[in-house]
């Protein structure tokens, strides 16, 4: 598990990041009337990128392929909807920690049961729990059932009575999400470089040997599952804030599968790969949709072409191009 990226790749990624961060500056010039729409689109993609990043910790690092990860994403969104008073704003300082805490707790419970299984059985157990979450919100009257629930007022971010960031502003929210994306990425880099992360990555490669070395893999997997769940909850919280609406579809297996495709397509275990995967998949969707209503057909071909041509995803190709110096191994 390489924790240091080749220098050329780091520079390229930083340039991409800078281009993204400066979008509010060059976007209006390049796209004029469509700018606001694109700004929201990019914000939405970054939220999905956070979700993909959190899933990469499980799939790419620990070898735990979850097909129910969207359940935690949706739960995060529903927590905000439930915590927001009907026509007033919730305070971010209360709502966000409460959301992430609750989602982490849910992930601990699900993870405790799910990590008893492995391989394809783990995929299916997480799918089962995800679908249970979906039907829970779909069938119960708790938050609008299958109609979903609205969040009429976005959370406030205040300190000592003054507003720090106005989340109603699309531009400000863009930067908040960008900040979250960078923060989650850096957090996971630190986690991977830590002793905990090294053990977790070793579990992904050979669990038996890790057990032989005297570690208890179950504890590491459970902590990773809860951490990934909490970060997915953060993404769900942001998505609910952006759209002002949550629906059971956020938790469904279609969403889980979609994010899993982002992770695999982008390059598992590389952290930056899944972010690129989210952008490639969503921008391809957006671009193809503009050209033809049958966009799913070329989309399917694109996915197949990438699998056949790039065994290690887009990130694998980039790492190959940039040479693997600085790999640290």
């Amino acid at each position: 598990m390489n924790t240091v990226l080749p220098r050329r790749l780091t520079i390229a990624l930083l340039l991409l990041l800078a281009g993204l961060a400066l979008f509010p500056a060059w976007g209006p010039l390049a796209f004029a009337a469509k700018y606001t729409f694109l700004l929201q689109k990019l914000t939405g993609i970054m939220i999905l990128a956070i979700l993909a990043l959190s899933l990469d910790l499980l799939v790419g690092v620990a070898g735990l392929v979850s097909l129910g990860h969207a359940a935690f994403f949706g739960l995060g969104g529903y927590m905000l909807a439930l915590l927001s008073p009907q026509y007033e704003a919730a305070s971010l300082w209360v709502a966000l920690p409460a959301t992430m805490g609750a989602v982490a707790l849910a992930a601990l419970v699900v993870g405790f049961l799910a990590i008893r299984t492995a391989g394809i059985y783990f995929i299916m157990v997480t799918l089962a729990f995800g679908q249970m979450g979906y039907y829970f919100f779909n069938d119960s009257k708790l938050a609008g059932g299958s109609d979903g629930a609205y969040i009429y007022v976005k959370p406030t971010v205040e300190a000592f009575g003054t507003t720090l960031v106005n989340l109603e502003s699309k531009q400000a929210f863009f930067f908040v999400v960008l900040g979250c994306l960078v923060a989650v990425y850096l957090l996971l880099r630190v986690v991977l470089a830590s002793p905990f992360g090294r053990v977790l990555a070793a579990i992904g490669v050979n669990e038996g040997r890790v057990r032989g070395l005297g570690f208890d893999p179950a504890v590491y997997k459970l902590v990773a599952f809860a951490l990934a769940g909490a970060l997915a909850g953060l993404a769900g919280f942001l998505a609910a804030t952006q759209y002002g609406f949550v629906s059971p579809a956020m938790l469904g297996w279609h969403q889980s599968g979609h994010v899993l495709v982002m992770v695999i397509l982008g390059g598992m275990g590389t952290l930056f790969g899944p972010i690129l995967g989210a952008f490639i998949l969503e921008l391809a969707h957006f671009g193809l949709e503009a050209v033809t209503e049958h966009w799913l057909l070329p989309m399917g071909m694109l996915v197949i072409a990438i699998v056949l041509a790039l065994p290690k995803g887009v990130a694998g190709l980039l790492l190959q191009w940039c040479g693997k110096k600085g790999d640290g191994e």
Partner: protein, 286 residues
Amino acid sequence: MDFWFFLIQVLNGVQYGLLLFLVASGLTLIFGIMGIINLAHGAFYMLGAYLAYWLARTTGSLSAAVLLSLPIAAAIGYAIEALLVRTLYRRDHLDQVLLTYGLILIFNEATRMTWGADVHGVPVPEALNWSIKLTDTLSYPAYRLMLSGVCAVLAVGMYLVISRTRFGMWVRAGASNRDMVAALGINVKLLFGVVFAIGAALAGLAGAISTPITSVAPGMGDSVLILCFVVVVIGGVGSIKGAFLGAMLIGLADTFGKVFVPDFASFTVYGVMAAVLLWKPRGLFA
């Protein structure tokens, strides 16, 4: 809850279970022998349904349509195995997941482009369009009984082929150790292609014969696929016996869930699966 009502639910549950078994048996064999997680398996079910709908309209006979759609589904299955899946045997499971995910998108969109996005229906054939009267108010449609009969015959046939023939022996051997089978001089490439084609044909058949009791719509394979994965995992991956038991369990759980707890009907299936896996983490027969 009287006896006849209960009997009807049992018949419905068994019929649904048998149908799921037709799809799930191919899925479990493909995973057990080739190690491929084939997400596109539900697409064959959908393809079978659309072919039956289309051929029944052109030929005017559903039985002819079902018989014609079988070789078509098998041929498409064989072609996909030979052209795409074959290149990925040495790769990670998740690459195959991604490939077959791409195939789902293509299949769904191709059917939508060919036959439109509308929901289609296929009428029950005249010869079977009658019901067996159980009481004054309750009756059971003959078509559903025939459906159960066909599925049951196929299940028994599959059991005999797998347990009694040389081909079945290769399949069983492949499921337990495919490298050893190759080393013993079996043409593994051909075996894989044939198993994939048979799986596709069985899924297509299930889709084709179920058209009179369901609606034909794009994406109809997705929900069946997920249920079949549930079945396969409950039974234990690679086990035909397990797939049969799992299919019965899920068919009955789904039917009775809809009768007794309609608000949480979809919950029951996943609840059963979670319970089984927490009790036996590798399925019932693995």
